[in-house]
Symmetry: C2
Subunit: 341 residues, 2 copies
């Protein structure tokens, strides 16, 4: 009958450290969590014992004992998408020197998948949850309200936050870029959209509103697909759009990948940009400014949203409730050569 080491792989525990340092286990625990509350002398002994034993804290045990994990659960619809890659980078940088960990889940733009992931994450009792958009299912909302931890919805704003929210209006983004195209003198302005998730739908709504306002809307101008966005898809959709409406003189693409595809296709087909065709994208990827001609786009503060979302979550974890639960970051229309007619 082995007395100890029945299961754990024999890794040193906090008790081993305590024995070696000649202190109580709880003091080691404290030295690790709140060094200020332990005398310098003991702290040094403990640090030494930790180093000598190669002790590593068992996060699972800590999470169980303290009924919460130092984890922020993050749900994004895609990781392949540059847009969310920037957000995630901002989230990471927002962590700073906190001992929080990020656990990223990929919803693949599916509300049900989001529910499933949420279920799993909540089982870890995260310190906070960050999720994308405002179109959670009723079940997801219920789970989150129940969870009792700060929740930050990002990339979009709306009137009914689960808890907190930081982002911008996609309707206004779509409207702004479309108005710009109208002002530039374009008249047959197409919309090209891939994926057509709720945010894309709202960009389309903004586009439509702007065109209707000017009496220029025509359903045939809209070319969309639910297939995932890509540069090659931009080419395909542009060809379709042009076949449908040969008088097309501009396109607003629901994201920059598509816009780049349209540009390449125009180059290939010798359609002058911006003379013959105006092109505008959305998100303002770094590439848009370098393209030839450079491409008009809507700059969205993705990295910043990530950073600030974590800052909001950290403040809320610390008990500081913000006076403003919904933060509108706005966006910036970047006028470039591709629409300078």
């Amino acid at each position: 009958m082995r007395p100890r080491t029945r299961r754990g792989g024999g890794r040193p525990t906090i008790a081993d450290v305590a024995r070696k340092a000649g202190v109580g286990a709880i003091t080691v625990s404290r030295a690790l969590r709140e060094p200020d509350r332990v005398s310098r002398e003991l702290r040094e002994q403990i640090d030494k014992a930790v180093a000598e034993l190669g002790y590593v804290l068992d996060r699972n045990a800590r999470a169980l004992a303290s009924a919460r994990a130092d984890v922020v659960a993050v749900l994004v619809p895609s990781l392949t998408n540059n847009v969310f890659a920037d957000v995630v980078r901002g989230l990471y940088d927002g962590l700073g020197d906190s001992h929080l960990q990020l656990h990223i889940g990929n919803t693949h733009y599916s509300g049900l998948e989001e529910e499933r992931l949420l279920q799993g994450f909540i089982g870890q009792r995260p310190s906070a949850v960050v999720l994308s958009g405002i179109d959670q299912t009723a079940t997801s909302r219920a789970i989150l309200k129940e969870a009792g931890c700060p929740v930050v919805q990002i990339m979009e704003i709306g009137t009914d936050p689960i808890d907190m929210m930081i982002g911008f209006s996609h309707v206004e983004g779509g409207r702004a870029v479309t108005r710009h195209l109208i002002e530039a003198g374009y008249r047959r302005i197409g919309f090209i959209g891939a994926r057509m998730d709720p945010r894309s739908q709202r960009r389309l709504a903004g586009y439509r509103a702007a065109l209707e306002e000017a009496g220029l809307f025509d359903l045939r101008l809209v070319t969309t697909t639910t297939a995932p966005s890509s540069v090659s898809l931009g080419r395909e959709l542009f060809r379709d759009a042009l076949a449908k409406v040969p008088t097309l003189d501009a396109v607003f693409c629901n994201n920059d990948d598509l816009a780049v595809g349209v540009l390449f296709e125009c180059n290939r087909a010798a359609l002058a940009v911006p003379g013959k065709i105006g092109i505008a994208g959305f998100n303002d990827l770094e590439m848009m400014d370098v393209a030839y001609p450079s491409i008009t786009s809507v700059r969205t503060p993705r990295y910043d949203i990530g950073r600030r979302a974590i800052a909001m979550a950290r403040a809320a974890i610390a008990g500081e409730r913000p006076e403003q639960r919904v933060v509108d970051t706005g966006f910036e229309l970047m006028r470039r050569e591709s629409t300078a007619r």
Copy 2:
């Protein structure tokens, strides 16, 4: 003196489910993990109780009790980079219906950061670890050998795997594309590199070997920076390279972002591609085939590497040791318009 609910937020536990279903707690635990080992009748009662109580398994408690978390720790050098985004997508898809979770860490191309993250991840007792490249520090290697779980190094191969390895030779990739440029008739072939992490260094080594073999190498042909890669950086570096060597007639870019930047700059400066300047990239992003002209690149099976890495890890977790510890996926040279002279 409250008898129960001292800490946990009052969420139902496995004991609550057991009481409601009229069975022992351990039977509930089994029904959740190995449904086949519980009679149909009890299983249905338990499922019902779970649903009614809204029971969610506490992963921390499970991990503590079973001394391992159903987690695969993944370390990648960057999340913003399309290349690793594809790998991560493959990893996710490789998970399939297993109950494994992915925990992603971002090393920012730093060995020390990798060590730090590894330390944290090991504290969670992951079921497996996946990490990028073959240049881990001695400390990292030691930690991993100690950890006693399967380890998969990805995206590159070498002769001294920590455990398992899947990827391809970056030296050969660089050599192949450079030879192609030589065969296409280019003579003053530049190398443009950003970041210059170890894999980029090895691509450069392959480039150099190919040029030396042909008696064409010249140090001034190499233009690199440690700054992170971007399309605009491709433009800058190309300008620098051209200023240094005005007779430059081709460039091999250590990745596709740079190559696109070079293409845009050539368009802007009215340098004919491939006539005046040949361009080749690395990784074969989807965009390369759509660009005008389309850009030669080295296709790397990133998504596939992700999937197969998880498959290898899962097999190893299940106790199946592969006969082949190092898997060379190879790569494919995609010859396109940008080098078709």
